[in-house]
């Protein structure tokens, strides 16, 4: 302690450091003072890094609006945070990239400020299903990016790429699969319905759902890992510890391009196409900047950049894009995708969750 006190830090230096510290703490306020800025929430990690590097600087150059990117967790954790903050009148991010289930849940509490399409002329480029609407027809969110969950395998363990989701049910794959742990992010009910019951319409009725659950129960002995955290599975897939499963097409492609022995396959029943919307929190005071941002992001050229640099599948129509067939095939597929039954996760969410938990835990 004595020696610590005797170090040569002068009183002046301490005061100086204090002033510096206060100035740094005040910085966000200075930034906020210039009106031209926007806080944008994107999924943390690889996604946010790619956006920070490839997309946001160009946007600031084009519009003069500074972007402060916020790393948001996947799942509905971010929705809960936005909702709680909005109740207190705060917005941890003005615009956030939200999953479809989160969009629908946010709609029920009017969390999203309705967007004015007149201020987003580029919205006409979008594929219709990527415009997320309130029941009264006002627009809750605009498709930001879409991505596929596909059948992934370790190439050292599986020399031949599998062709159908049905391999999950193959008894030869006992204790070899890594699957997502939640009913609302694995979309395995849809996969089961499409593979064995002719399509996701089979899930319209409760009997249909129960049948899918029963079929899915047969997969359980093959599952080694039910993962919530992507890193948990990705590492095991690369090492061959868990050589097969469902995972994101973009990240798997990236891992393969880095030389890891992994591959992503679109099964003949189709990959699961999920998407994220740009949505504006009702607590945000940056509506104008948000509209400019969303319009910018909906340009075909930007969507093409996203496909090339981030590996996401575009939300604008294919014919407007200058992507080559090869570039398009790298992020998407001509096989009709399995579109998740988002409606089920709002109308029957608790029932589905209970059945699902009993299925995998019980």
């Amino acid at each position: 302690m004595d020696t610590f006190l005797k170090t040569g830090v002068s009183r002046r230096a301490v005061l100086g450091a204090g002033v510096m510290g206060a100035a740094i703490l005040a910085m966000p306020n200075i930034l906020r003072a210039q009106d031209k800025s926007l806080k944008v929430g994107v999924y943390g990690g690889y996604f946010k890094d790619s956006f920070d590097k490839n997309i946001f600087p160009e946007f600031t150059k084009a519009t003069g609006i500074a972007i402060e990117s916020v790393a948001e967790p996947t799942g509905e954790a971010w929705l809960v945070q936005l909702e709680q903050a909005a109740k207190a009148g705060a917005a941890p991010a003005d615009v956030s990239m939200m999953s479809q289930v989160a969009m629908l849940k946010g709609q029920t509490t009017k969390l999203w400020t309705p967007l004015d399409l007149a201020k987003i002329p580029n919205s006409k480029n979008l594929i219709d299903r990527f415009v997320n609407k309130y029941p009264d027809g006002s627009v809750a969110g605009i498709g930001a990016v879409s991505w596929y969950i596909t059948l992934v395998t370790n190439t050292d363990v599986y020399k031949e790429a599998p062709t159908s989701w049905a391999v999950f049910w193959d008894k030869a794959n006992a204790d070899k699969l890594g699957l997502l742990a939640l009913v609302s992010n694995s979309f395995l009910l849809e996969v089961t319905a499409k593979t064995f019951f002719g399509g996701t319409n089979a899930l319209d009725t409760e009997e249909g759902l129960l049948k899918a659950f029963d079929k899915l129960a047969e997969v359980k002995p093959n599952v080694r890992l039910w993962y919530r955290d992507e890193a948990q599975f990705e590492q095991s897939l690369k090492s061959g510890e868990i050589p097969m499963g469902q995972y994101y097409h973009d990240v798997t492609g990236l891992a393969a391009s880095e030389g890891h022995p992994v591959r992503s396959t679109f099964p003949k029943e189709g990959g699961v196409q999920d998407s994220g919307c740009w949505a504006l929190s009702r607590a945000s005071k940056k509506a104008d900047e948000a509209h400019i941002f969303i319009d910018y992001m909906s340009q075909p050229a930007i969507q093409a950049t996203l496909s090339r640099k981030v590996g996401t599948s575009p939300t604008v129509k294919r014919e407007l894009l200058d992507l080559s067939d090869k570039e398009f095939a790298a992020v998407s597929s001509d096989i009709e995708p399995i579109i998740p039954r988002y409606d089920l996760y709002t109308t029957k969410s608790d029932w589905l969750n209970q059945k699902w938990t009993e299925l995998i835990v019980g």
């Binding site: 799942g75 509905e76 954790a77 929705l79 809960v80 909702e83 629908l104 849940k105 029920t108 509490t109 742990a181 939640l182 609302s184 992010n185 080694r224 890992l225 039910w226 919530r228 955290d229 948990q232 590492q235 095991s236 090492s239 061959g240 510890e241 996760y345 709002t346 109308t347 029957k348 969410s349 608790d350 969750n353 209970q354 938990t357 009993e358 995998i360 835990v361 019980g362």
Partner: protein, 284 residues
């Protein structure tokens, strides 16, 4: 020096700050949680203030009973394993030279600086088929081919004991160091073997400390939600994992709160029961 009982409000002064902190950071959040547990869940949305019991009703089922039972069993097992390992270790540690003791304690403290995530991933690598310990066993001829030792109950237990052991040792350490060394010397002089003296003299003398340590590790282990996910199969998920699922992934705060309140009540009940039995035992 004889201590005067406090005479005026001012004498209670030093208590105000901790009491205020406890109020702000424990009583208020816990009260909020209890309130939320009675709120009405809006399916596909959030919740509205109300006073309903449906969240508790949903919890009262064989399924959740089973999960609760497993969580309690796991926490008790972790507590017992930790104390059984830590007690002889700490006793031997207390008999080392001062210098060696400091080195050991610094090592143990550094384990505390590891987060649950790092512990979980480290053990999952150690127990894996492709890079884990079983490869070593193959090298020295104990196994024919490497096997995956996780996910399994043993892996969850190992991870949780690893995480809780430093706490256990640090709680036991002061009591064991302060223990009168003449007790053991007397036992030895009267002809008991070291092991016999350990069990017949040291353990009974430390009974209260051991009980308190068991309770502390039990409560610590009950809150664990990451290690069962990383190292276990779904049937090894604790109630805390399901609470997280409801709160974070289903945005069902009322049900999550009801489960959490239930878990706290059961825990407090068990602790009270343990203390009660302990007191009765002392009287006898």
């Amino acid at each position: 020096m004889k201590r005067e009982p406090p005479q005026s409000i001012a004498d209670y002064g030093p208590l105000f700050f901790p009491a205020g902190m406890l109020l702000i950071f424990f009583v208020v959040p816990f009260g909020t949680m209890i309130a939320v547990s009675f709120f009405q869940r809006q399916e596909g949305g959030f919740y509205t203030p109300a006073f309903v019991f449906s969240n508790y009703e949903r919890f009262l089922s064989a399924f959740f009973g089973g999960v609760l039972g497993f969580s309690l069993m796991l926490a008790v097992t972790v507590a017992i394993c930790c104390v059984v390992l830590a007690l002889p270790f700490t006793y031997l540690l207390s008999r080392l030279s001062r210098r060696l003791q400091v080195i050991w304690l610094v090592g143990l403290l550094s384990v505390l600086s590891l987060s649950e995530v790092i512990i979980g991933f480290a053990w999952s690598t150690l127990l894996s088929r492709t890079a884990g310990l079983s490869n070593l066993f193959v090298k020295i001829g104990l196994l024919d081919q490497p096997v995956a030792l996780f996910p399994s109950f043993g892996a969850v237990l190992t991870g949780m004991v690893y995480q809780a052991l430093p706490y256990t040792i640090l709680v036991l350490y002061p009591a064991i160091v302060r223990l009168d060394p003449t007790l053991m010397e007397a036992a030895r002089t009267l002809g008991s073997s070291p092991i016999r003296a350990f069990f017949n003299v040291l353990v009974p003398a430390l009974r209260n400390t051991i009980m308190a340590t068991l309770i502390m590790v039990f409560i610590f282990a009950l809150g664990s939600y990451l290690l069962p996910q990383i190292l276990g199969r779904p049937q090894h998920w604790t109630l805390s994992v399901l609470i997280t699922d409801q709160a974070i992934y289903q945005s069902n705060m009322p049900f999550a709160a009801a489960m959490a309140v239930f878990l706290v009540l059961v825990t407090l009940g068990l602790v009270a029961l343990t203390l009660l039995i302990g007191r009765k035992g002392e009287k006898a």
